[in-house]
């Protein structure tokens, strides 16, 4: 499970890898929170979400968009993502802490998830996807 930042002039382009679909979704979630807030600790905040879409790519779009929505309205930062995918339906348990401006304001605000090039692929190491995020 890993993510790396790829070159993109104006926005943020991430490549996320995982051995399984559950892993790649969990890692993508971790990646966007890392970008937005830097450090995060599990301090007892827990949230459960369910997302359903018509395809895996759209499921990833909806799931990441849901994470952006939750952090914006609930002022929470997540660090662990326990994701379970059945077909094109996802349940996830998110754990983290309340947003603390003193510790969490060193990152980059993400405005939205782009559909540009959003395609989950399989390769010899597992699953990989590139995501362009508007920052």
């Amino acid at each position: 499970m890993s993510f790396e930042e790829l070159e993109h002039t104006a926005d943020l382009r991430l490549r996320v890898r995982g051995a399984t679909l559950d892993e790649i979704f969990a890692e993508a979630g971790r990646a966007i929170f890392q970008v937005m807030y830097g450090c995060c600790k599990d301090r007892g905040v827990e949230r459960r979400i369910e997302v359903e879409a018509e395809s895996l790519d759209s499921l990833l779009f909806d799931y990441l968009s849901e994470l952006l929505f939750i952090t914006d309205v609930e002022n929470v930062v997540f660090c662990t993502f326990d994701v379970n995918i059945q077909g094109t339906r996802l349940t996830a348990v998110l754990r983290g802490e309340p947003l603390d401006p003193a510790r969490h304001s060193g990152g980059t605000l993400i405005k939205g998830v782009s559909y540009s090039g959003l395609e989950i692929r399989r390769d010899e190491e597992g699953y990989v996807v590139e995501i362009i995020l508007d920052v």
């Binding site: 993109h8 104006a10 779009f61 002022n75 605000l109 998830v113 959003l118 508007d134 920052v135």
Partner: protein, 478 residues
């Protein structure tokens, strides 16, 4: 220049049909030799992708601050036929009606001597900035519905500004056609606590001095004098706009097969302008655009109060020059093959630049064209220009919107430290206040094209004409 692109003028380039499969019209962009080195192949491909969209009229265009984004390139402009054409969130972006306003004060630089640090600190304290910032305003869901319909007027009626401000906003600070029912409950939840907040990223409030007047008569019309202190606000529709864009992008993407639209990039997801999905996006986008005008109005009000208290100014002495949107889609009348027709113009990182006598611009500016405000990057000059007849003929009345990035955020953070940037700018007399040095590093001047060159290109081409140059004195950032 990249392969496959033809030069059609000194500063004008054409991307021929066939550059990507399915192009309906050629692409055109404007760039000088010195800016050409920064052009990414990805940006040109995105310009060409836009040319495949149904009902596009004449050209897929990009301004000299063109760079690689998602969907449309940043700096992209395209007009669509009202019957055959489409509307797309990918041609507007997530930050609907991100825009800029410029306000003059009666102060000169010398009035700020010894007080600049205090001024910047007071502005930083008065205006919520950064990730997670929440407004001190308490508005209800009912208020939000009115904000989305009435835009800046809602703010003025509650004492955040004056009636005169409204005339000096693009669309008088509120586009018609808002449909609050097209705004989800999620978008509303994000919008309620964020009205009057600056946001993060490249958004800012900057105190500036008018350093050079290049067109004295027009500068006088716009109310600018050399040496005068001004301030500029750059921000958009915050979480509400991001959510409206996300929700409708999803709906339009799912409807592509229904309308048999085939696109090279799903981020260009679109629907016929007069379809339920197209009307839904437009109505929601207008709500977000109007929210953004109210947002900039509230922020300007807070800044005016800071200046008024610190320097004993009357509120009315701080005059709004103009407010422009640079991420929006609008129904406008333009001339096509000698006939006036209505088209849906998308501007994504491009500024409207309507020329003299355009009925949409304030009466007091009718003789010179609308003010065009081009913010520089942090530490570099900003410019005030005016719209032109040439822009009406060549670019659907559009021009550039800023400097345009050349370095990614990750690259610039590897090259510079925020603390160094802050100290270097302070050495040049520019105070920067942000929540973190990392936010400063990302927006370091070296991450951007030189604003001088981008503005020179639009001026030489006649897409807008330089009126004045403003230099930064201090800036607050998200």
């Amino acid at each position: 220049m990249l392969a496959g692109i033809n030069r059609v003028g000194d500063l004008e380039w054409e991307v021929p049909i066939g550059y990507v499969p399915g192009m309906r019209v050629p692409g055109r962009f404007f760039l000088s030799a010195s800016l050409a080195g920064t052009l990414e192949e990805g940006a040109v491909r995105q310009l060409a992708n836009v040319a495949t969209m149904p009902g596009i009229v004449k050209y897929s265009l990009a301004m000299p601050d063109i760079h690689w984004g998602y969907g449309f390139p940043i700096g992209g402009v395209a007009a669509f036929d009202m019957t055959e054409g489409v509307i797309s969130p990918g041609g507007v972006g997530f930050d609907i009606n991100c825009g800029v306003r410029l306000i003059t004060t009666p102060l000169t630089e010398s009035d700020l001597a010894g007080k600049r640090r205090e001024l910047i600190e007071r502005l930083f304290a008065a205006i919520p900035t950064g990730v997670g910032a929440k407004s001190t305003l308490r508005i209800s869901n009912k208020d939000l519905s009115r904000v989305m319909v009435e835009g800046a007027r809602w703010a003025v009626e509650r004492g955040f500004g004056t009636e005169a401000d409204l005339a000096r906003c693009e669309a008088e600070g509120a586009m018609s056609g808002a449909d609050p029912d097209a705004v989800s409950s999620k978008a509303r939840q994000r919008g309620v606590p964020q009205l009057g907040t600056l946001g993060a990223g490249n958004h800012f409030l900057e105190v500036q001095a008018v350093r050079e007047i290049l067109d004295p008569a027009t500068a006088e019309t716009f109310g600018l004098k050399e040496g005068q202190v001004c301030f500029m606000v750059h921000c958009g529709s915050r979480g509400l706009g991001h959510q409206v864009a996300t929700d409708h992008l999803r709906t339009l993407e799912a409807a592509l097969s229904k309308y048999r639209i085939h696109l090279p990039d799903r981020q260009l997801a679109c629907a016929p302008i007069d379809s339920p999905e197209g009307r839904g996006y437009y109505g929601g986008m207008v709500c977000a655009a109007n929210y953004a005008w109210a947002n900039r109005q509230v922020i300007m009000h807070e800044a005016r109060n800071v200046f008024a208290k610190m320097f004993g100014l009357d509120y009315d002495e701080m005059r709004l020059v103009y407010d422009v949107a640079h991420n929006v889609a609008k129904f406008e009348r333009h001339e096509v093959d000698g006939r006036p027709v209505e088209v849906c113009v998308h501007r994504k990182g491009a500024t409207r630049a309507f020329g003299p006598k355009a009925p949409e611009i304030p009466h007091e500016y009718a003789g010179v064209g609308q003010p065009v405000i081009i913010p520089g990057s942090m530490g570099t000059p900003s410019y005030l220009l005016c719209g032109t007849t040439t822009a009406m003929q060549k670019t659907w009345g559009s021009t550039c919107h800023g400097a345009g990035r050349v370095l990614s955020r990750s690259k610039v953070k590897k090259e510079v430290l925020g603390k160094e940037v802050r100290e270097q700018l302070a050495g040049e007399g520019i105070l920067v206040r942000a929540h973190s040095d990392a936010a400063i590093a990302e927006e370091a001047p070296q991450a951007y094209k030189p604003s001088q060159e981008v503005v020179r290109v639009v001026h030489v081409l006649g897409l807008s004409a330089i009126v004045a140059r403003l230099e930064p004195l201090g800036v607050i950032k998200g």
